[in-house]
């Protein structure tokens, strides 16, 4: 009897998990199949398999989307990681006037939704001559990474024993030396986390590009897909090259997926500590 109950329990659990898995998998079915079919439509079919959609990604238009997305992703990562690391060090090691106030301001600012400041952000970019530039998109994306990145890296630095640095200072190393030779290398997992978060947000950015960019040659992949989706919902007035668009969507999804699964172990630690412990 108890064995029967155990079997029912196991089967029941598996069924619930299967249902949840299907909920998550079903919307991706079209994307995954259509990318490998010639001339796919909106419906899911399992015929006409081909790989010919993927080489077409290298045509000038879509290759430029990829280049633009890469630029935004990489520049966002470089700027936000470097600046957050430098600024996190004093927070982990010193007491200075205004420290608590700054931390409070950082946490509060973390919660400013981008969609609530779209217009002022656009005005600012226009005023600074950054409207319709990729560097403008990257700067805005990077600035929005700073609160979380600083918070996470501060937690990592705080776990590094200060004695390691003190020993180096005794040997005549300067503060900057120990920062770059000891502190940053030892917080590598934290760096991986904030780098991954910044890259994913820059690479995947849609909203900043939507409000800042209006020349088609500056469009990142997200804007290309957005335009295609507008065409797709235009009730057939414009034909969409679904083969090309699903292939590029699939490629678009790979870097963040890899970044996530590579840093997952540290990510959970870093982000959850950042959000829960504070």
């Amino acid at each position: 009897m108890r064995r029967l109950a155990r079997y029912i329990n196991i089967i029941g659990n598996n069924l619930v998990l299967l249902a949840i898995a299907l909920y998550f998998l079903a919307p991706l079915t079209w994307l995954i199949t259509a990318a490998f079919r010639s001339n796919p439509s909106v419906s899911v079919e399992f015929t006409n398999w081909t790989l010919s959609n993927f080489p077409r990604i290298l045509n000038p238009d879509t290759a430029r989307w990829i280049r633009n997305s890469l630029f935004i992703g990489v520049v966002t990562t470089l700027i936000s990681s470097t600046l957050s690391c430098l600024a996190a060090y004093p927070f982990a090691r010193f007491d200075f006037p205004g420290k608590t106030a700054l931390l409070f301001a950082l946490v509060i600012s973390m919660t400013i939704p981008l969609s609530s400041v779209m217009l002022p952000t656009f005005s600012l970019a226009r005023w600074l001559g950054l409207a319709n530039t990729l560097i403008g998109v990257a700067l805005i994306a990077a600035s929005r990474q700073i609160p979380t990145a600083l918070w996470v890296i501060k937690e990592f630095i705080a776990t590094i024993p200060v004695e390691l640095e003190e020993a180096a200072w005794v040997d005549g190393a300067g503060r900057l030396d120990t920062l770059f030779r000891i502190v940053f290398p030892l917080s590598a997992p934290g760096l991986a986390v904030i780098g991954m978060m910044a890259f994913v947000s820059g690479w995947g950015d849609f909203t900043i590009s939507l409000i800042l960019l209006n020349s088609e040659e500056l469009y990142p992949i997200s804007m290309g897909i957005y335009k295609a989706s507008l065409d797709a919902t235009s009730w057939g007035y414009v034909t969409v090259d679904y083969g090309l668009m699903t292939a590029i969507s699939l490629i678009y999804l790979i870097p963040p997926a890899i970044a996530f699964f590579l840093t997952q172990r540290y990510l959970v630690k870093g982000m959850v500590i950042g959000a829960v412990k504070g």
Partner: protein, 293 residues
């Protein structure tokens, strides 16, 4: 001493400059713009005038604004509080590796959590694109229904709000799952074992041991996802664009339309200040909660 002050300042300055100019600045400027009649084009674009509370008076007598507040509220309750937190908690508890049946369900458990995380890192435009086709009249969901012998439904037209809610649950659950899984791992297993020895059932152990210990993480999760969900913009914009007939016009979409489609910068910004105010209040709660723990 003086040198170390200078050192601290030099380290802090670049990050805080960028943060202040590009992240905080627009929020402050937004509050200022909401008191002017600035427009994107036309004569008031170059010389905006201070109009006091005029925009706010307009806001409070604008039925379309209150409508969007209501829509956003429904969206947040449905997709964040019930959907993401609920599904995230369920999945975290089901896939807890300390369960005695874990090795019998580990395959499905790992598969499900992996796809859930994958959805979370998918760029939002890809989610929008996939869901548009998924819900299309000739899309995959209807194909499943017709295979089962049911009638196809034009989902976006007939049930726009449930559509964007389901898509947003699909997108965001990964975060709650991650948070709850790590919270569950930090519960000492001795407590569970002791309760099991005392003959507590699975549900009783969840209700009286696990759940009370998860109250902190659940609160943090709820506040964060509420804030984030109020700000969700790109996904509903792609799926429904606020329609049909404004039935999914969230605050973010209304603000975007007023400002970028109807070119009323001052008023559009006032609409988005509404979102800012709601999230700010929640943010202060969040900070208080962090301090207390």
């Amino acid at each position: 001493m003086k040198r170390s002050r200078l050192f601290i300042l030099a380290l802090l300055l670049p990050a805080f400059l960028l943060w202040f100019v590009f992240m905080v600045g627009p929020a402050i400027n937004g509050i200022y713009i909401s008191f002017t009649n600035q427009a994107l084009t036309g004569p008031t674009a170059a010389n905006p005038r201070f109009v006091g509370l005029a925009n706010y008076r307009k806001l409070f007598s604008d039925p379309r604004f209150f409508d969007s507040v209501k829509k956003s509220f429904i969206f947040v309750i449905g997709s964040a509080i019930i959907g993401q937190a609920g599904l995230g908690l369920l999945l975290a508890v089901l896939t807890n590796e300390r369960r005695r049946i874990w090795n019998k369900i580990s395959f499905m458990g790992r598969l499900t959590t992996t796809i859930c995380y994958l959805s979370w890192v998918t760029p939002e435009t890809v989610i929008g694109f996939s869901w548009i086709s998924y819900l299309a009249p000739e899309g995959f969901l209807n194909r499943i229904l017709t295979t089962l012998g049911l009638q196809p439904v034009n989902w976006i037209i007939r049930f726009p709000m449930p559509c964007i809610i389901l898509a947003n649950i699909w997108w965001g659950t990964g975060w709650s799952l991650m948070l709850f899984k790590s919270a569950l791992e930090s519960i000492p297993s001795e407590i569970q074992e002791a309760a099991e020895v005392d003959g507590a059932s699975g549900w009783q152990r969840f209700r009286y041991i696990t759940l009370p210990l998860l109250v902190g993480p659940i609160m943090v999760d709820l506040i964060l996802i509420t804030i984030w969900t109020y700000g969700v913009f790109g996904l509903p914009l792609m799926l429904t664009g606020g329609g049909p007939a404004r039935r999914t016009e969230l605050m973010t979409i209304y603000a975007y339309r007023t400002a970028f489609k109807f070119f009323e910068l001052g008023y559009g910004t006032t609409v988005s200040i509404g979102i800012l105010l709601i999230t700010m209040v929640l943010a202060i709660f969040y900070y208080k909660l962090l301090r207390r723990e």
